[in-house]
């Protein structure tokens, strides 16, 4: 193999798209060619730079507003505070195209709550701590492990309830700290999971499904027999569900679709 022939193979290797016969040929060449090894390293760095650069560009709020107010996408009939929610649930399946649901998830959720909430429910107010966390101003107590966090938080509420604990190690997220917030007279336990690529904050408090934000999109998981409520505050997505008399909210900047899937997978069936 010549260096010229190796170029496209290197590209495919960087993209994890090089099938085995070609891969073996390229590896033999790389063992013998320092220039192509350098080219491989450079191309990997370039791809990483593209990826990071791309991640910084997000759709402006004005675009979300344009799409939400476009009658060709969301017909004017019944336009109002709850209209788009009604696309999601509880319309019968024949009237609920999967596409509309997916597009609403993609477009509407992050913006809608921002545009139209009047009274901030406790579930939304709790997310204020996520903003503080992002700004590095959250007075959280660091802990060595999940058990220590759970013990501290349980003690803070006199043992009346326990913080939800999840294992996010598959996402490279570890429990690092916990804190207690008091919002509207209610104690809210916050466990912070952090990793090299992001964070999830887990909120636990005593409550009912009435505490779900009224504008949240509601989903019923028929397997677990649980309702899930998806909502956003700024760049932070959140999914709310109830287990017994305890409410759990997972909040993160990961996409809503992923957060909803994650919460559903972790929630304990009722």
């Amino acid at each position: 193999m010549t260096c010229g022939e190796a170029q496209e193979f290197i590209t495919a290797l960087v993209d994890h798209e090089l099938p085995e016969p070609e891969r073996a040929l390229l590896e033999t060449h790389l063992n013998e060619c320092a220039d192509c090894r350098t080219a491989l390293t450079a191309e990997r760095a370039l791809k990483q730079a593209f990826r990071e650069s791309g991640a910084q560009l997000r759709a402006p709020d004005a675009l979300r507003a344009r799409i939400l107010s476009d009658p060709r996408i969301f017909p004017a009939q019944g336009r109002g505070a709850r209209r788009w929610r009604d696309y999601l649930w509880p319309m019968p399946p024949v009237l609920r195209p999967a596409l509309a649901v997916a597009i609403l998830l993609a477009v509407a959720l992050p913006a809608y709550f921002f545009m139209d909430y009047r009274i901030e429910p406790v579930a939304v107010a709790a997310l204020e701590s996520y903003d503080l966390f992002l700004e590095g101003k959250l007075p959280a107590r660091r802990a060595a492990n999940a058990d220590e966090i759970a013990e501290q938080l349980t003690r803070a509420v006199g043992g009346r309830f326990h913080p939800m604990g999840y294992d996010f190690s598959a996402m490279d997220l570890r429990p690092v700290a916990g804190l207690v917030r008091e919002i509207q007279g209610r104690k809210i336990l916050v466990a912070i999971y952090q990793g090299p690529h992001g964070a999830i904050l887990c909120y636990t408090f005593l409550g009912s499904e009435d505490d779900a934000p009224p504008n949240a999109a509601k989903f019923f998981d028929s397997e677990k027999k649980l309702n899930f409520y998806a909502f956003s505050r700024g760049t932070v997505n959140a999914v709310f569900h109830r287990e017994g008399d305890v409410i759990c909210i997972l909040a993160s900047e990961i996409p809503m679709e992923e957060l909803l899937t994650l919460t559903r997978s972790k929630a304990r069936a009722s």
Binding site: E8, A42, S53, G54, R66, A98, A102, M256
Partner: protein
Amino acid sequence: MTHLDHLYRFASHLTKDQEQAQDLVQETFVRAIAAHEQFIPGTNLKAWLARILYNFFVDHYQKNKRWALLEDASNEGNDEWNRAAAENPGPESQLLGKELGTQISDGLAAIPEAFRTPLLLVDMGDFSYEEAAAIMSCPVGTIRSRLSRGRKLMARRLKAYVKGPEQK
């Protein structure tokens, strides 16, 4: 990051204009809703939307350039595009004075669309070669060769940031 962010990013680099990018994404959703029966639940919505967006871009924004695009595509074997990009790499001092992100945006804007799109889809959109090929309606091998050449064009423009082997 939502599909909307992905689509906006794709549109933004395709059109090189924020207002046109917003128009393109909005029209993509209009077309998607109109054609919703063609979408198969459980398949890749992001790829389906990206394909609608790209087709709309080619039909409307590239209308005047379509013949040039086809002509360019038939000339992949020569170094015409390489020469065009190399002739206008921008002064080195300017490269160093800008953020890498800005450099990447400027670089993408300067290379031919046929090379830019695979980079946007695979590197920034996390699409596989097969998905990118379906979006661009071209063979998988074309995606691979255009990516390889597109990255080389970009590497030349970003040589202050990404070290590669000496050009021969």
